[in-house]
């Protein structure tokens, strides 16, 4: 079981992604914007993985990931972008940060497989946090 931060500004998509991840047995903290994500991480501790929307009004997902990784202990935070932006340059920009890039609409198994693969790859073993 891992602690997974989910950020998406669309409430239905946020609920859907969170539901899927919870059903797969992980702990989810769901927030609807970049600022909120940063505050949540500061207050409640580091997640093992982030699933991030890209186009968000207050802070785009790419910048958000960079800010998250600026926190001590989060330098290698694995991330999955889940985005409705599908242009090659968008995908390239996401991958350049070492993240997996999935496009919307998404198939649940693809998301869950990507989560498992990222968690296995990341050196940090999931710990029991305060969530």
């Amino acid at each position: 079981m891992a602690r997974i931060l989910v950020v998406d500004d669309d409430p239905d998509v946020l609920a859907l992604v969170s539901f899927r991840i919870r059903k797969a047995g992980h702990k989810v903290i769901a927030v609807s914007g970049g600022q909120e994500a940063l505050e949540t991480v500061a207050a409640r501790g580091a997640p093992d993985l982030a699933v991030l929307d890209v186009t968000m009004p207050d802070l785009d997902g790419l910048t958000l990931l960079q800010r998250l990784r600026a926190h001590a202990g989060l330098e290698a935070l694995p991330a999955i972008f889940l985005s409705a932006r599908v242009q090659p340059e968008d995908i390239e920009a996401g991958r350049a940060l070492g993240a997996t890039y999935l496009t919307k609409p998404f198939v649940a198994t693809a998301l869950l497989n990507a989560i498992n693969a990222s968690l296995e790859e990341s050196s940090a073993a999931p710990t029991d946090g305060g969530w």
Binding site: D9, D10, P11, D12, V13, A15, L16, F19, R20, S32, G33, T55, M56, P57, D58, A84, R85, V86, Q87, T103, K104, P105, F106, V107, A108
Partner: protein, 393 residues
């Protein structure tokens, strides 16, 4: 798009019968004098200013506006086409005619390729020929500039269209993500609690409605862009525009727990407008007003004829719009961060469509807002002529 071949788009001095100012760049005083004499006889409307080098000519061009430049290629400070290139670069709007002693087809062609309007050989040029070359050069250059402007417009349009398709794809994918995702949840688990499945289907259905509204908005935007959105303006009673919007708003307000005030317009205020589309615009404004007004607030719709126009006001006591967002709210796909944070549904097309539709009908739309207090949009439309000129009917 404008008809670029229409003469009304060309405003050369010659066409207006004004004096035509010619800059002659020629280092031989004798020849310059000869040109002046020839032109004075053949075309007295031309006024000729002479400079003997490129640097002087550049200085003249930066200080004064000329209609045409005639230049020699054998100038002391820049020989051959180099000097011409410099002049063309410093005054790209000016037609340049080369008038040189050298009869060379290759250089002539090269000069024209690099922006000269003509290449004339001194020994074979007389006053009439030169005068005609000048007036043709001015005309040709103005057509060329018009074409270039046209090409820029086409390119800007293509770029906007590309951005639009990318944004539209993004916007369409968002409701589709929920439609497919929630249906997938239902399909994945046939034994799920029916209550839970029903909840998922409801979300999918809601997002389908959202998708449909979005497709309609996208079509409208595209129609506005390509001129494929026929408006059918007619003389209509203002109440015909307002009443259906008021009905819709009444329902929306009741659902949202917001009070609605509607002051029906007096009879006989006739505007020139496409009634159905204008009603849609009001519905959009009223929809926004309801979306951005917390329960217990109020929304109003009222109208009055003033100064030859019908002014329709849609106001609310809602969250308001921050001053730095105001310049952007009529832009496509703009939604205030506040709207998004509060998860108010929308795509940010409504106001851009409203503005285009109202302006296409010679109307205007303005906004006044105070954060925390409320927002008022005012739409104004021209009254039919009979009314704006009392006594004429």
């Amino acid at each position: 798009m404008t008809d670029i071949t229409s003469p009304s788009h060309r405003h050369t001095s010659a066409a207006r019968g004004e004096q035509v100012k010619v800059l002659l760049v020629e280092d031989s005083c004798d020849y310059a004098e000869l040109v002046c004499d020839m032109l004075e006889e053949s075309a007295p409307e031309l006024s000729v200013t002479t400079r003997s080098g490129i640097a002087d000519a550049q200085a003249a061009l930066s200080g004064e506006k000329f209609d045409c430049v005639i230049m020699d290629l054998g100038l002391p400070d820049a020989r051959g086409l180099t000097g011409m290139r410099r002049l063309v670069a410093c005054a790209p709007e000016n037609p340049v005619v080369v008038l040189t002693g050298r009869d060379d087809d290759v250089i002539g062609l090269e000069a024209v390729k690099e922006g000269a309007q003509d290449y004339l050989v001194k020994a074979r040029t007389d006053g009439d020929l030169l005068a005609r070359a000048i007036s043709y050069a001015i005309e040709r250059k103005s057509v060329a500039l018009e074409l270039a402007r046209h090409a820029d417009q086409v390119q800007a349009f293509a770029e906007r269209q590309r951005d639009f398709v990318a944004s539209a794809s993004h916007e369409l994918r968002t409701p589709l993500t929920s439609i497919m995702g929630y249906l997938e949840l239902v399909l994945d688990d046939p034994d799920a609690d029916p209550q839970e499945s029903r909840g998922h289907v409801e979300v999918a259905y809601r997002n389908s409605q959202r998708l449909l509204a979005l497709v309609e908005d996208l079509l409208t935007v595209n129609g506005l862009d390509t001129g494929n959105l026929p408006l059918t303006p007619a003389a209509v009673d203002g109440r015909e525009i307002l009443a259906p919007a008021a009905d819709l708003a009444q329902g929306l307000c009741a659902l949202a727990g917001v009070s609605f005030e509607y002051e029906p317009l007096a009879a006989g205020v006739i505007v020139q407008a496409d009634a159905a589309r204008t009603t849609k615009v009001l519905e959009n404004l009223l929809g926004n007003a309801v979306k951005f007004t917390p329960p217990d607030g109020s929304v109003h719709l009222r109208a009055q004829a003033r100064d030859g126009r019908l002014e329709i006001e849609v106001g609310d006591t809602g969250i308001g719009i921050p001053a730095n967002d105001i310049p952007h709210i009529f832009e496509r796909f703009f939604r205030s961060p506040d709207a998004v944070r509060k998860a108010v549904p929308g795509t940010g097309l409504g106001l851009s469509i409203a503005k285009s539709l109202i302006e296409a009908q010679s109307g205007g739309i303005t906004v006044a807002s105070r954060p925390g207090e409320g927002t008022t949009f005012t739409v104004s439309l021209p009254l039919t002529l009979e009314q704006s000129w009392p006594g004429s009917s």
